[in-house]
């Protein structure tokens, strides 16, 4: 079964395993992978995990959608809130959240505003982002872009939309970022974590079918590969069965 595992499914499974029972969290703007991960965790080991902190609680979407912020995905849920309650949640924080962007750098900073030029004279203008609070009011967050190239993994982002670890522990402390920040970076190729001392990104494991050298080649900064890099633990049969039969009915994660 695992031979047929798509890179996106592998991402979902890695993220789901890191979410704990009883936690409160939300999926963020690029919701397909995060929402699948949350749903998988709730099915397998975290039935008391609450999806909340955006404008709805515990949605029961019939299938996965690229956007999870409208009635198509959320019409069936346990409760609806508005941006006023989101204002409060953004201050109180969640247990976990998800982010991804146009560029991600070695410290996990994320850029959604512009590539090249300046904010008001950009070479390429991005979409911006709405919620800039959960990245630090929440206990931790995950970075999970669905592409992984040397163009979107760069040494230094052109604009810090979402702060990761800024330029390391001192800068983070000076900015008042007291929580964990980005914990894992999960892409279609690999899983990265952050060095405890420097807070620089490093390779943790590569998904089946990838080599550490390949991952490094598609990354615009040094991934600090030392010695053997383990393979990411592939989905179990149970994980894959539940994911495909109960969550991703339409096969969006294999498209």
């Amino acid at each position: 079964m695992s031979a047929a595992v798509s890179p996106i499914e592998q991402m979902v499974v890695v993220l789901a395993r890191d979410l704990a029972d009883g936690e409160l969290g939300a999926a963020g703007a690029a919701a397909l992978v995060p929402m699948a991960a949350i749903a998988l965790a709730r099915e397998l080991h975290a039935p008391n995990l609450t999806v909340g902190g955006e404008m709805f609680f515990n949605p029961e979407p019939g299938r996965l959608y690229p956007s999870m912020l409208d009635d198509r995905a959320l019409g069936r849920c346990e409760a609806a809130e508005t941006f006023i309650e989101l204002f409060g949640h953004s201050h109180h924080g969640l247990d976990f959240f998800f982010h991804s962007g146009l560029q991600h750098d070695v410290y996990g900073n994320i850029n959604l505003h512009h590539v090249g030029g300046t904010l008001h004279a950009p070479k390429m203008r991005g979409p911006g982002a709405a919620n800039l609070s959960y990245c630090h009011t929440s206990s931790r967050y995950y970075i999970c872009p669905t592409v992984h190239t040397a163009r979107n993994f760069v040494e230094t982002v052109d604009f810090i939309t979402i702060p990761g670890h800024l330029s390391g522990p001192a800068a983070k402390r000076d900015a008042g970022l007291v929580n964990e920040g980005p914990r894992l970076v999960v892409t279609p190729r690999a899983v990265m974590e952050f060095d405890k001392t420097t807070l620089r990104m490093q390779l943790k494991s590569v998904h089946g079918g990838n080599t550490p050298e390949e991952v490094q080649r598609h990354t615009g900064f040094d991934l600090a590969i030392r010695g053997e890099v383990p393979q990411t633990r592939p989905p179990t049969e149970e994980e894959l069965r539940v994911l495909r039969e109960r969550i991703d009915i339409s096969g969006a994660l294999r498209a």
Binding site: D70, D71, R72, A80, T82, A121, G128, I160
Partner: protein
């Protein structure tokens, strides 16, 4: 008083073009326009088109913190000077005209965050001079956000943020139902910031899928999302949110938006014939919503979006 003409309660039901003229006049005084809904749901697109047809320009556009198609269309039509919306995207792709106009320096797109926008609307709705914010750190947005101020917190002693009232001159909303007095009923699960915007704004104009009898409102007042006191005019517009969704009545038209984005991308890279034709067909030529419905594909076309909203 017998024999004298007794005054009667005035209906707020208005025609689409009259509503657009009302809005345009107000926006000439102060160009802050705010749009309800979020991304591809419950956006007041028919009102936007009518306003563009009425010739608005130089607009400062606000919204709930995420917008896409409608703002991009307004930029394509040359009506926008400044954008005060944290996220501008079609979600699965970038907004082509927004991107082009900002990169060309024709439109100023401010770097903002959701709490600034929501907090500014809260301050306006609550009638206080500012809303404290204490959840912004480390982002470069804080260096550029024109609405955000650092203040000394008199309670904690720390430096925190604050935003003054955001008071749109005109807010356009789309709801599913209203009575003739202007009491709005959002039947969708997600209502986003519509209620907040209504309370924060000088003038509110709403499009609805249908006007319902008075008793529908009176029999279930808890379902009224925006009381008529906040609403200046209400317009019944079939498919008035298209190509965005009006759940539970009809779904978003992803294909229409995608085709529009393709034309926008072509224009961005040099070929604007498709985009010009799109604007002529959907904005310039239709005299009313019936014409627009025909231009899009007729009521048969919309039956598919209705079925999708019913999960068929």
């Amino acid at each position: 008083m017998e024999g004298q003409a007794k005054p009667t309660r005035r209906s707020k039901v208005t025609g689409l073009q009259d509503a657009a003229r009302l809005a345009r006049g107000a926006l000439e005084e102060r160009p802050e326009l705010c749009l309800g809904g979020l991304f591809k749901q419950s956006r007041p697109v028919a009102l936007v088109r009518a306003l563009l047809a009425a010739g608005a320009d130089g607009l400062h556009v606000y919204s709930s913190p995420g917008a896409g198609y409608d703002v991009d269309l307004m930029i394509a039509a040359g009506a926008v000077a400044q954008v005060f919306i944290p996220g501008v995207t079609l979600e699965n792709r970038l907004c082509p005209n927004f991107r082009r106009a900002v990169e060309a320096g024709q439109v100023t797109a401010h770097a903002l965050d959701a709490l600034t926008v929501v907090g500014g609307l809260m301050a306006s709705a609550h009638g206080v001079p500012f809303q404290p914010i204490d959840a912004l750190r480390g982002s470069d947005v804080l260096k550029h956000n024109p609405l955000l101020h650092e203040i000394d917190c008199p309670f904690s002693g720390r430096r925190i943020h604050a935003v003054g009232p955001i008071r749109p001159r005109v807010t356009f909303l789309h709801a599913q139902e209203a009575d003739r007095w202007g009491n709005l009923r959002h039947l969708s699960t997600m209502v986003y910031a519509d209620q907040l915007m209504a309370r924060a704004s000088d003038m509110v104009i709403a499009s609805v899928d249908r006007i319902v009898p008075d008793e529908v409102v009176l029999d279930d007042p808890s379902r009224v999302t925006v009381p008529s006191n906040y609403v200046d005019a209400v317009v019944e517009v079939p498919y008035g949110a298209h190509p965005t969704a009006s759940f539970p009545n009809y779904a978003m038209d992803e294909e229409h938006i995608d085709a529009y984005a393709d034309l926008g991308d072509a224009a961005r890279t040099g070929d604007s014939t498709g985009l010009d034709a799109y604007i002529t067909r959907h904005l310039t030529e239709p005299k009313n919503q019936s014409d627009y419905i025909e231009a899009v594909g007729g009521t048969g076309y919309f039956a598919v979006l209705e079925a999708e909203a019913r999960n068929e």
